[in-house]
Symmetry: C2
Subunit: 222 residues, 2 copies
């Protein structure tokens, strides 16, 4: 529980930091995310919610400059400045399908973590297996993609709270990116890339007013 920080300060923090964030176009190449902040961000991804807690994802940190250069070929030219200047580049990958072996590995982790016999989670395991057995392959991939977007939304918000700038890059070619990352023949595939770091003073986009529909336009109370 948050005993240290006053509750109203948390409200204000969320308001101000979500106003402050924007899709950063150019990062300051000299500013790096601290180890403690990076640990917070990776932990926020590791703890991200997913349906049934299945975590059908993998996160790739593309730190080497050689790899970043290769990633440029997997994206639209508009993303090159981000790949060149961001402190960190993350690729969020999803599982292409949910094999029974994976669900069993997860259930073993549930039993181990909760110190319960594997038999005690058998009904839960069967419910999940039965559910996904009715999903065609394409529907499984769409489902794992959606779960990965929960992690994305959580990451962008956590970063903003830490005053870390981000840009989600959907314009990355998943097939080329998978080739660069060596994912092609695995059960994982690129969903989206995220550049993280600190906005450059030269990024004019930071001065553009945030554009949002009004509360009335996006909410209906029934």
């Amino acid at each position: 529980m948050s005993n240290v920080i006053n509750h109203e300060e948390i409200q204000k923090l969320i308001h101000s930091q979500l106003q402050w964030r924007y899709a950063t176009k150019v990062f300051d190449g000299n500013k790096k995310i601290s180890e403690a902040d990076w640990e917070t961000l990776t932990e926020s991804l590791r703890l991200a919610p997913s349906s049934f807690g299945l975590q059908p994802w993998h996160f790739i940190v593309a730190n080497s400059s050689a790899l970043r250069e290769q990633l440029v070929t997997a994206t639209t030219p508009i993303n090159k400045p981000k790949l060149d200047t961001a402190s960190h580049i993350l690729i969020l990958a999803r599982m292409k399908s949910l094999p029974v072996e994976y669900i069993d590995a997860y259930m073993e982790l549930v039993a181990k973590t909760r110190e319960t016999p594997i038999g005690a989670v058998q009904d839960y395991r069967n419910m999940i297996v039965n559910k996904f057995s009715t999903f065609p392959a394409e529907a499984q991939a769409q489902w794992t993609t959606r779960q990965t977007y929960i992690a994305l939304g959580s990451l962008l918000t956590s970063a903003a709270l830490l005053s870390i700038d981000t840009c989600a890059m959907e314009g990355i070619d998943p097939i080329k990116c998978d080739e660069v990352l060596g994912l092609t023949k695995t059960n994982y595939g690129t969903v989206v890339a995220v550049a993280l770091g600190y906005r450059s003073e030269e990024d004019k986009a930071q001065h553009a007013k945030k554009v949002r529909f009004s509360m009335d336009q996006v909410f209906t109370v029934m």
Copy 2:
């Protein structure tokens, strides 16, 4: 910027609150989310990031008990206790398609907000229109669904920071839910429902240890 709160306190807040949260099964029916907290949560949804800033979503607050009862028929029985006891029920809906008229309305908002002539955003408008004109209807719906999941991820994290419990309910039947909400003949459709409030002391799930793969299992550094 977050001047008030010490940076390390924000790191700790994110760590502790993401550990604290869990998919709440039973809420305390007597505890209601305060107006100030609710305003923070709705604002976090309104400000949620989306690709091109298009916000292809709508959020429905299902407050009336009559509506909640109807929603029970649109979901699996496992969700009934949440619909009965949560302080607030939200339905996150996506646009079923992205009509050119919508993109034009958004571009008008961009021009108005940034006090720029509409002609200045014409290239940007055309780029977006051209992009989505190549998407088959089903791909547009998948794209708007993914955007809505960014909002979901951001909401679940913002709520946790405020010590507000949540449960995302994917097991809601979108067709039935659309009927209940009167969305069937509109361009909006149910994606996911979220129960928000405060955990009941009787919810045993709060005592179950959080299950997550290790950092090594979900991250690769290249």
